[in-house]
Each structure stands twice: as structure tokens, then as C-alpha cells.
Amino acid sequence: MTDTPTSAPVPTVPTPGHILHRMSMPVFLFSAVFATALGVSRFAILPSLTSIEVGGVKRDAAGLQKRAEELKVQIADVQEERDEDILTLQGTPYRALVNAKISGDSGLELLEAFRAAARDAVRGTPDAVVITQAQVDGKTLTLKGDVSGVGPGSMTVLAQFTEILRGDARVVSLVAPTFTRLEDPKIGPYSPFTIVLTLK
């Protein structure tokens, strides 16, 4: 008897392709278990663990948000209805006129507020910016006055005061004054101004 070559597989060196092939099934099984476990947890376990019972009803985050919004809407509606019963003539031109009158700042309050701003414009010189005239016409306030007693820096002080007014919460827009410096034999250099403010 002579030895004949067998048809058994020829031993070969494993290539990366072989390794990937052998790993494919275990990795697939692991992935399937991983995704299934997380899916079950996401849809079956997590909602029950993260729901909160409020007023005898269990709700998740979205349900709680929706319930809170519903309650806020209901509160606003009931509050409005209650206020209508308490406050007569709601929704009439009379009420609109009264509300407009009561809520608005009076001309004197505005003038006092801007006078205070003028006094604080130059530290240590409260009379540097003087408002001599104020005119409130609807939403427009016109301030007239002058900056004096600060030497040749009167225009700079006027610019600072203009910026203070521009930054005031009640002011929507402002027409800046013309910046000029005049000489007066008594008070020295001064800058007269007319500033037009549009109010909220």
C-alpha cells in the first residue's frame, strides 16, 4: 500500500479576513442581546421607573409638562373670569381709558427722574447739567437746558448726559442735541441743549 494524499483541509495561516469571519457570529449575538436588552428597558422598564405620581395619576416628563401647561391655562381663564366679576366695566372704552391713565408715568415724575440723572451726570457738580424746560406731548418728551460750570468740557458732559438718557429704560429713542460751546461773561463756557426723547 502506498500513501495517497488525503482531501483534508490544508492548514493555512489565519488572515484578518478569517478572524473577522470567525468573530462575526459572536459579535452579532452580543449586539442582538445588547440592543434587545436596552430596547426592553427603554420601552418597558424606564417609563415605569421615571414616571411620577401626582394627584393619584402617574405621568412621565412629557405628561407632567402637559398637565402643568393645562393647569396654567385653566388658572389664567378662571382668574380672568373672577377679575371680570370683581372689576366692573371690563372690556369697555371706560376701562381702557382708566388703565391708560393709571399705568402711565406722569410728566412730573419723568421730569424728576431725568433731573436726578442730570444731577448725577458730573460727580461733585450737581448743577453742571440744568434742565430749564420740559415738555411732554403724548410719548414725546422735550428737554431744554444747558451744561455749564465745567469749563471747556461742557460738550463732553452733554454727550455723557445724552448717553445716560439713551440708556434709560423708559426711553425708546432719542434725537441727540446739537453740540456747541458758547461763552458767557458770567458763567464761562456753556453748552445749551434741546433733547427730544421718545418714551415707551
Binding site: 492548514p11 473577522l20 452579532f28 378662571v78 366679576d85 372704552p93 382708566v98
Partner: protein, 289 residues
């Protein structure tokens, strides 16, 4: 160990694609876990604490609404009639307007807050807001700063009928909220207070205030109430309409006044500190026919 020289590459590739897809799906689920837990911490717990408070407030408001409906049904007198006859008439009663300003200027002269007043000029009637008509009234005065405050208060008070009218919506809301917190049933007492005739209240504030404060046992409502009264128009009105002046307006049938508002105000510094030359344009409102 032996390796098949020709493995099933297509099956292996399909397994790898499937594995990667499943891992991606798992990652999505994991991200959802994280966001759910984060939502619970960030919103669910605060909402769970907020909702019982909102439910309680809704119940309180419903109770108050029922009580105020009942009280509203039992209320007598019609403010609409006062508005139609006195506050927003079809035509301005110029005589009454002039008499009212005359009474005010006399009062200011007595208090040494006014030195001069120009003739009062009436403008043409024009169309105004909300389907109303309006007429301007202009006058010039030499006033002390306190006199300007009194003048502004006088114009603000024109047309107001009840205590509620002299409070801003924020001030009314503050009192209502305090009622909800302390004694929801006291809404009836608050409603009665708010609907008290303004001039009656200014002449003698104590009975109306005591009637309201009787409904609250704690001091916090009283503190809030006093604060509202002190900072509102009621305080300025109380200083201007002292009992004698209020009685004078009432006796001359000048109250309720026709609705007016300041349209333009010009202040020019006067010769003495605190004094101003004031140009005032007031608008009278009328109901259009």
C-alpha cells in the same frame, strides 16, 4: 487549527452589518435612557412639586369665582349709568369742567401753591380713541412743584368712580393674590372694598378699610394692603381731596368728574426754586353718539 480557505464572506459581511446596526440601535436606546433620566432630574421633579400648588390655586380661584359671581349678582347700582351720565357724556359739560378747575385753583391758592392762572380755552371736538370724541382744554399756570403734583392727581382722578379704578392692575393683582394665599373667602370683602365709591372712601377711608381688614387674621395682608395704598394713586388722592375739598366737590355736584387726561405738559423753571410756568393741555373724552 485549520481554516477554510474560502469562508462565506457574504454571510460574514451581513453579520457585521447587522451587528453594527444593532449596536447603533442600542446606542440610540442608551442615549434615550440618558435624556430621560436628565429630563426627570431637570423638569419632572420640579414639575411634580409645582403641579400640586397649581391644582390648589385653581381650586381656590374656582371657589373665589363662585363667591364673586354670587356677590356680583347681589350688587346694586349700575356703574354704566354713571359712566354715561357723568364720566363719558355725549357732550362736554363745559360749565362743570370750568367749575372743577376753578375749585382746584382756589384750593391751590389757599395752599399757596399757585400764583397765576390764564383763561381756560376749549378746542374743537375731534374724533378720539375707541370710538369716542375728544376736546382739548388749555391753560397756563404758575405753580409750585407740589401744585403740579396736585394738578396731575386731579386730572388722573377725573372720571374714576371706585377705589379699584385708582389702583393699577399690578396693585389689584397683589391684593387678590394675597387674598388667595390668606383667606380665599375674603374675596367678597375685597370686592366690596374695591367697588367702594372713590370719593366716599377718600372722605372717610377708615370704615371701608376696617371692613376689609376684619376678614384677615394675619398681619401680612394688612402690610401688603397698607403698602398698596401708600404707593398708589389713593395716597396722592387722599392728600389732594382732604375732607373739606372732597365735600366741596360733592356739594357742587362736580363728582364724578368727566374723564380727562393730560395730553401735553410744558414746565419752565420759574423765578423761585420749586416754581414753574406750566402750560397744560388736557383732553376731555366724550361718548360718540
Amino acid at each position: 487549527m485549520t481554516f477554510h480557505p474560502h469562508p462565506h464572506w457574504q454571510i460574514a459581511a451581513a453579520r457585521w452589518v447587522g451587528s453594527l446596526s444593532l449596536i447603533a440601535l442600542g446606542a440610540v436606546f442608551l442615549a434615550q435612557h440618558i435624556s430621560t433620566v436628565r429630563d426627570v432630574r431637570a423638569s419632572s421633579l420640579p414639575l411634580a412639586q409645582e403641579i400640586p400648588g397649581l391644582e390648589r390655586r385653581l381650586n381656590v380661584l374656582k371657589q373665589q369665582k363662585e363667591l364673586s359671581e354670587l356677590s356680583h349678582a347681589l350688587r346694586t347700582g349700575s356703574p354704566e349709568e354713571h359712566v354715561h351720565v357723568y364720566v363719558l357724556p355725549e357732550e362736554a359739560d363745559l360749565d362743570k369742567v370750568v367749575t372743577a378747575f376753578d375749585a382746584l385753583t382756589q384750593e391751590l391758592r389757599q395752599r399757596k401753591l399757585l400764583t397765576a392762572i390764564s383763561p381756560i380755552a376749549f378746542g374743537e371736538t375731534t374724533s378720539g380713541p375707541e370710538g369716542m370724541t375728544e376736546q382739548s382744554v388749555t391753560l397756563e399756570l404758575a405753580l409750585h412743584q407740589e401744585g403740579i403734583e396736585a394738578l396731575q392727581t386731579f386730572v388722573k382722578l377725573s372720571g374714576l368712580l371706585s377705589v379699584a379704578d385708582a389702583l393699577s392692575s399690578e396693585e389689584r393683582s397683589r391684593l387678590l393674590l394675597q387674598t388667595e394665599l390668606e383667606n380665599p373667602a375674603a374675596i367678597v370683602a375685597l370686592e366690596q372694598f374695591l367697588n367702594t365709591d372713590l370719593l366716599d372712601y377718600l372722605r372717610e377711608p377708615r370704615p371701608a378699610e376696617e371692613q376689609l381688614l376684619k376678614s384677615f387674621s394675619s398681619q401680612s395682608f394688612e402690610r401688603a394692603f397698607r403698602d398698596v395704598v401708600r404707593t398708589s394713586l389713593l395716597s396722592d388722592a387722599g392728600r389732594l381731596l382732604h375732607p373739606v375739598f372732597a365735600e366741596k366737590l360733592s356739594a357742587a355736584r362736580l363728582w364724578p368728574m368727566q374723564m380727562m387726561d393730560i395730553n401735553a405738559l410744558s414746565l419752565e423753571s420759574g423765578n423761585a426754586p420749586g416754581w414753574y410756568r406750566v402750560k397744560l393741555e388736557v383732553v376731555l373724552y366724550m361718548r360718540s353718539v
